[in-house]
Structures are given as C-alpha cells and as structure tokens.
C-alpha cells in the first residue's frame, strides 16, 4: 500500500514544527459551501479581533494570540478532522459555529478537557453546567430565542395571542428541531396553534413550504434557518406577499446578506439578536487603524459592520475576557485549556467591561456560574430597514420565559446525564 508512505512523510514534517508560547484559538470556519454566507463574516470577525489584540495590546496579558483556521464546510466529518488536527496545538476553546459539529465535539472535548463555546447554538440543555462541564452557550440559547420570538409577538398583539396560528419554518437538522419542544410548551401556555414546516439541507427548495403557508395563512412565521436557506425563505415570503413585519427569524437568520436579495420587499423583516448591530462603536476605529489599514484583515476585509461579523467579534471578545479571568484566577499568563474552562465558568460581562473594550452596549450583561453555563438569556429584536440598508434594534435586551425553558433544560440534561453516567460538575 504505497499511498500510505506519502502520508507518513507528511506526519514527520508536521511533528517537526516548533511550539511557541501563545494562546491558540482554533477557528473551525466555513468559507465554502451553502453556509459560507454566514461563515465567512463570522470567521473574519473572530480572526480580526484577535489580530487587533495582538497589534494593539500585544496579546492578552502579554501573551500573543494565534488563530488556527480550519475549513469545515459545515460538514461534521471535516469538523472531526479539524478538531483532531488543531487540538494538539494547545487549543483553548472551540467555537465550531455548527450545531451538528458541536454535538459531536461535546463528549470528545469534555474528555480532552477543552471547553466549547457554542454561542447561541449547539445543544441548548448544555446551559446546565452541572452536567455539561465543558460546554458553554452564553449569552442566550435557542430556547431563549423561541421564547423571545413569542414574547415579541405577544408585545405586538397586546399580550394575547390565543387562537393565532404561528408557523415555524426550520432547517431540518438538530439546529432547526431544537426550538420545537419549547414552542409546543409555549403554544399550550398561550393558546396559539403551531404549524411546523421542515426545510431540508441546504434549503434552496422551499416552494412547497411557502405554498403551505399561503394556504394555511398563519398570523406569524418564525424561522430557524442558516446559510442559503435564509435568502430563499425571505425571497419566497416576498413572493407570496407575506407581511414582513410578521416574519421573525432567529439570530442566525438576520444578516444583511439574507435580506438583500429580496430588495425592498424584505423591508420590515425582523430578526432576534444577542449582539448589537452596526459599526458605530469605538472598537471599529481601532479595527480600521490596526487591522484593516495595516493590511492584516482576515478574508477579503469587506465584512466589517455586518451582523455576522459583529457576532464573530463578540464571540472573540467573550473568549478574550474569559482568558483574562482565567489568567487572574490561576496567576499565569499562558493558560491551559482547563484553566480557560475555569475562566469561562467565572465570566461576568458588565457594561463597564464592554465599554472598556470599545463596544458599549454590544450585548446583554450576564453572569456565568457553575450551574448556569447559559447566561441570563436576554434577547433583543432587530428589524431590517431596506431604504437605509441596515438592521435597526427595535426592542432592547429583554428576559425570556425561563419558567418554561428551565424545566426543559433540566429534563434534557438529566436524560443526557443518566444516559452517559456523568458525575456532577458543581460540588
């Protein structure tokens, strides 16, 4: 089997590369495939923030950061390959930006003592830190999102939505199925009728779903979409003249690139948000000065200020803050992944911290604890203004219905705990 010889030679060269003291942040990005529209800006934002820290501050606590990028194409098999090839470099935290890959990495990373930060995606019940010791999904999770969407519809309708019909258009995967149970509980509580419409990967084919919406005439549509599915859904909604202000997407379905193809017809489309929109932050001045103008921007450098780019910045900022907490806790600058986990578990994000990073009001204030890895679950609402070409925040970060969500989290995490014989993390 001669083909094995070449790969052995490659292994030898890989093993010979030098190891330096730095903080490694693997970026399991996807710049190709049907989900690249969201993957590119997120990866750019994530990388640019760490570049900025290196250029402006000389790293975090005096230790330089290094982003190791690995292309997954939103594919779980490549995600495994990326995880295995980057974990040996001293990876501190994984942010795969894919619910499927997150599910796969949860047991592996826990066994390897590397934390995962699935920011607003992944396994929702991982918010229970007692069971999921190495998984964090602050500041908000899918079930907060589902509840926030219903809360917004309640607000618009004066607090009464009994008898209304609400459709859920979802990506037919673990990601899209996550909110169903929460919405079912909420429909019992508020008395609305839930209509479930699954869209298969990659989501380009949605004619029949929107035909059904046209026939059933739901009062509101909630969407859990990602990648090319978003553009198609918004275009289809425009085609059947569905009122855009009644169409509300989760935070992964609310980027400029999702609404632009439908032009003016997308005006009024709403999306939930867990981080602020726009580039009106002092941080952007530094980004332009130290990163973009220095020619060190990741990718094409043309994504600044977009919603997913901001989210990449936000994810990187939360990771950097967790590093600072860990450095302080353990008294070492060059922390390990286990220490990073401790830092994430004791993370507190306040308005002062965000302002000190040049991003006042960028996200909600929240506190992470051993029991609660999900933060406080505050969610904002944004709306697309087609004339101005930007998302505008129309409702501030507000709490969600934890009375419904917390029992679901406890139930699902307890099932996982029993299935896998996991010991309590918080004792």
């Amino acid at each position: 089997m001669n083909y094995k010889l070449g790969t052995w030679a490659v292994a030898g060269l890989m093993a010979a590369s030098p190891v330096m003291a730095d903080l490694v942040f693997p970026s399991l990005s996807y710049r190709t495939g049907p989900y690249a529209a969201g993957g590119i800006p997120f990866a750019d934002g994530y990388a640019d923030y760490f570049t900025l820290l290196n250029e402006r501050d000389g790293g975090i606590g005096g230790v330089m950061t290094r982003v190791v990028e690995c292309e997954t194409g939103y594919n779980t098999e490549k995600g495994v390959e990326c995880y295995e090839s980057t974990k040996g470099e001293g990876a501190l935290v994984y942010q795969p930006l894919s619910t499927g890959i997150t599910y796969q990495l949860i047991p592996k990373a826990t066994a390897d003592d590397i934390p995962i930060h699935s920011m607003g995606y992944g396994r929702t019940s991982a918010a229970n830190g007692d069971v999921f010791s190495h998984v964090f999904n602050y500041p908000a999770n899918y079930w907060n999102g589902a509840s926030a969407a219903i809360n917004h519809i309640l607000d618009v309708n004066g607090g009464d939505i009994s008898g209304k019909k609400i459709a859920l258009v979802y990506h037919n995967s673990a990601y899209g199925k996550e909110p169903i149970r929460t919405l079912e509980k909420l429909s019992e509580k508020h008395g609305f009728e839930l209509l479930q419409l699954a869209v298969d990967h990659p989501g380009q084919e949605q004619k029949s779903q929107w035909l059904q919406i046209r026939r059933e005439r739901p009062d509101n549509v909630i969407m859990y979409g990602w990648g090319v599915m978003n553009q198609v859904a918004i275009q289809e909604a425009a085609n059947i003249r569905f009122p855009m202000e009644n169409f509300i997407g989760i935070w992964w379905s609310g980027a400029e690139i999702d609404v632009q193809p439908a032009g003016d017809k997308a005006n009024g489309y709403k999306a939930l948000s867990m981080s602020a929109v726009g580039d009106d932050f002092p941080l952007y001045d530094d980004l332009r000065q130290y990163v973009v103008e220095a020619g060190k921007a990741a990718g094409a450098g043309d994504q600044l200020g977009t919603v997913p780019y901001n989210r990449g910045l936000y994810a990187a900022m939360l990771a950097a803050e967790a590093v600072k907490v860990a450095q302080e806790m353990h008294g070492v600058a060059d922390i390990t992944s286990g220490q990073m986990r401790d830092g994430m578990e004791n993370l507190v994000i306040t308005e002062e911290i965000m302002a000190a990073n040049g991003v006042p009001g960028f996200g909600p204030e929240f506190t992470v604890s051993c029991e609660n890895h999900g933060g406080d679950g505050l969610v904002a609402v944004t709306q697309w203004d087609a004339a101005a070409g930007e998302f505008v925040q129309i409702a501030d970060f507000a709490p969600t219905d934890m009375e419904i969500i917390q029992p679901l989290i406890d139930e699902d995490s307890a099932a996982y705990k029993a299935e896998n014989n996991i010991e309590s993390n918080c004792n």
Partner: protein
C-alpha cells in the same frame, strides 16, 4: 526479475487458485497485514485514527459492499447512504436497548438488519434494470432518510433528532464514546475491514460470485444456463447491504459518535461511495480500497500541503481541493476507464516482464 510465477510450483488445487499466485505479492500482502495489525496500533494517535485510518477503513467496507452489488452483480444502486443510515440507526437502537451486549454483536446485527432492508429494496431489481433501477434505489435513499427524520422512535425521542453513541465496550475495552483509546477503535474497524475483504473475496470467486457476474454480463444468457436471477440478485443485495450496514454502524458508533441522518447519510454519501468504486475499479476488491483511499486521503493530504506547508487561506485550499480531486478523477477515467485497479493490473503485467520486456 523477482516478480514472476517461475519457480513457484503449485502442487495442490487450493494452491493453484490462491488470491496471490506470485510469491512477491503474497509476501507483500502479509507484510501489509503485519504492519496494519501489529505495528500501527502501537504508534497510532488520535489524529491519525480519526482523520485518516478510520474514515479509510470504514469507507473501504462501504465500497466493498457497493462493489459487490454494482461491480460484480451489475445492479446500479444510489441507495448506499440510506443503507448506511439503516446500519447506523439499527446499531443505535441495539446499543441503547441492550447495553451489556458486546459491540461486535451489535455491529454484526446492524449489518444483518440492513441486509434484510436491502433485500426489500432489491425486489424491484427483478423487474427493472439499469437507470430505472438506479431511480428505484434513489427512492430508497430518500425514503430511508425521511423515515429516520420523521419517526422519533428511531432516535429515542431526543429533542434534536440527533443520535449519540453512548459509551460501550467489547471484552472490557471501550469502543465507543469519548474515552476510547486510538488503538482500540482502529483495531475494531480494522477487524471488520479485514473480515469484509476476506469474505467478499471468497464469495466473489465462488459459485455465488460467478452467478452474480453471469447476471451482470448478460442476464438472459445467465438465466438460460441455469442461474436463478431471483436468488442471484437478492443475494447480491443482501450481501452488499450487509457490508454497507456494517460500515454505517461503524461510521456512526465508532467514527463520528453523533450523527444526524440528513447530513451524514444524504445523497452525497451515496455518490461518494459510488465514485469510490468507479475510480477504484468496478468488480475489484483492491479497487474498493484504492478508491476509498483516493477519496478519503487525497483531500486530507491536499489540505495539509496547502494550509500547513504553504500557509494558503483555508477557503482557497478548499476550492483547490475540489478542482484537483475533480480534475484527477477526469484524468484517471480518461487514462484508465477501468479505474485504479486496472492500473495496478497493468503495472503487475509490466513488472512480470521487467527488466526485459521482449
């Protein structure tokens, strides 16, 4: 010079019909087996097993399975992904239903269940052929994926529709779950790969295999000389699905640990395995290995060269990867329509005469 039959005398019929008639080939085969079984388990680490060996071994099993159906029996199938899903979900239900039973038994049973499902979807092959059969198996692909998405019993009513492999062992050695050792999962897959290859090789050169090939070459003629098409076609579907089911079970339980049917076992998986056997060589066990290696290892190799050596952006490398793999497929198929296995055969013919070809 050293690669020839001369001087190697066969004194019994079994010797005369052995798989590797040339002494050099025979030794090479034993050396490869020795390295795979005795040396690699001691030097392997997580990266090598998860990124290279496990996908290679598992896809090789799937390719052997599909090769039996397409390459040996001539029944075109696009349902490989669906049948792999049957293996995976069968294994999941068995693993969660009977936690104390050894993983070996679960994987074999998963293969058996897939064989039964394969026979069921093989029934149309008695009436339809060629492209029409391909469409029928395509329907199986979509139906099975839809079924595993729709009926929540298959994924034990979990909220997300994902199936997760719990921690299971065989003879006290962990095989699934996060705390496995690299050598254990490698050996587990290797045993199944060797088993599949040996069984497939011996089936295809026996009477069953001859019947399959007779059906492939001309079904009417085969029927006239006394081959029962019902039996031949359905056994081909059963055996093929058995191997594909094993590979699906390993793919889910040992390799990925968590899958979602639409993403892991979609139509692209069916095409991937079909490409493997077309590139490797239809009707060849070696071709199944070569094709699996080509399509599993080449992308990893190109990624290592592009990203780790040259430091190119990951998206450029990912796109280049598509271009290079696609280009190589075209070049290979133009240069050698019968796949890598035929190249290997030609090389062996030339080696026999080397260094005096005249």
């Amino acid at each position: 010079m050293f690669y020839r039959e001369a001087g190697d005398f066969s004194t019994t019929y079994p010797q005369d019909s052995q798989t590797f008639p040339i002494k050099f080939d025979r030794y090479r085969y034993y050396v490869v087996l020795f390295i795979a079984v005795v040396i690699i388990p001691f030097v392997i680490n997580d990266y090598w097993v998860n990124s290279i060996f496990m996908p290679f071994l598992i896809y090789a099993i799937a390719a052997i399975g599909l090769n039996i159906l397409v390459g040996y029996c001539g029944q075109v199938s696009l349902g490989t992904g669906g049948f792999m899903a049957v293996g995976a979900y069968a294994c999941y239900k068995l693993m969660t239903g009977f936690p104390e039973v050894s993983m070996f038994i679960h994987v074999l049973l998963a293969g058996g269940i897939t064989a039964m499902v394969g026979v069921l979807f093989g029934l149309p092959s008695l009436r339809i052929k060629g492209f029409y059969l391909a469409v029928a198996t395509l329907a199986a692909q979509f139906f099975l994926v839809w079924l595993f998405n729709k009926v929540s019993w298959f994924y034990n009513y979990s909220a997300s529709g994902q199936i997760n492999a719990p921690q299971r062992d065989t003879f006290g050695i962990l095989i699934t779950g996060p705390n496995t050792e690299a050598w254990a999962t490698y050996m587990f897959c290797l045993i199944f790969t060797i088993f599949s290859a040996v069984v497939a090789r011996n089936l295809t050169r026996g009477s069953v295999g001859r019947q399959w090939m007779a059906i492939r070459d001309m079904d009417i003629a085969a029927e006239i000389i006394g081959v029962n098409p019902l039996k031949a076609k359905l056994t081909a579907f059963a055996v093929s699905s058995f191997f594909v089911g094993i590979s699906g079970a390993l793919f889910f339980a040992v390799y990925l640990g968590a899958v979602e049917v639409g993403e892991a076992f979609g139509i692209t998986k069916s095409f991937l395995v079909l490409f493997m056997i077309i590139i490797g060589g239809l009707g060849s066990i070696f071709g199944s290995f070569a094709g699996a290696a080509f399509l599993v290892l080449l992308p990893v190799l190109l990624k290592i060269i592009g990203v780790d050596w040259f430091g190119w952006p990951t998206d450029i490398v990912a796109h280049l990867n598509l271009v290079i793999v696609g280009g190589l497929i075209v070049v290979f198929l133009i240069a050698e329509p019968h796949g890598l296995a035929q190249l290997w055969r030609v090389a062996k013919e030339k080696l026999r005469l080397w260094p005096f070809p005249h």
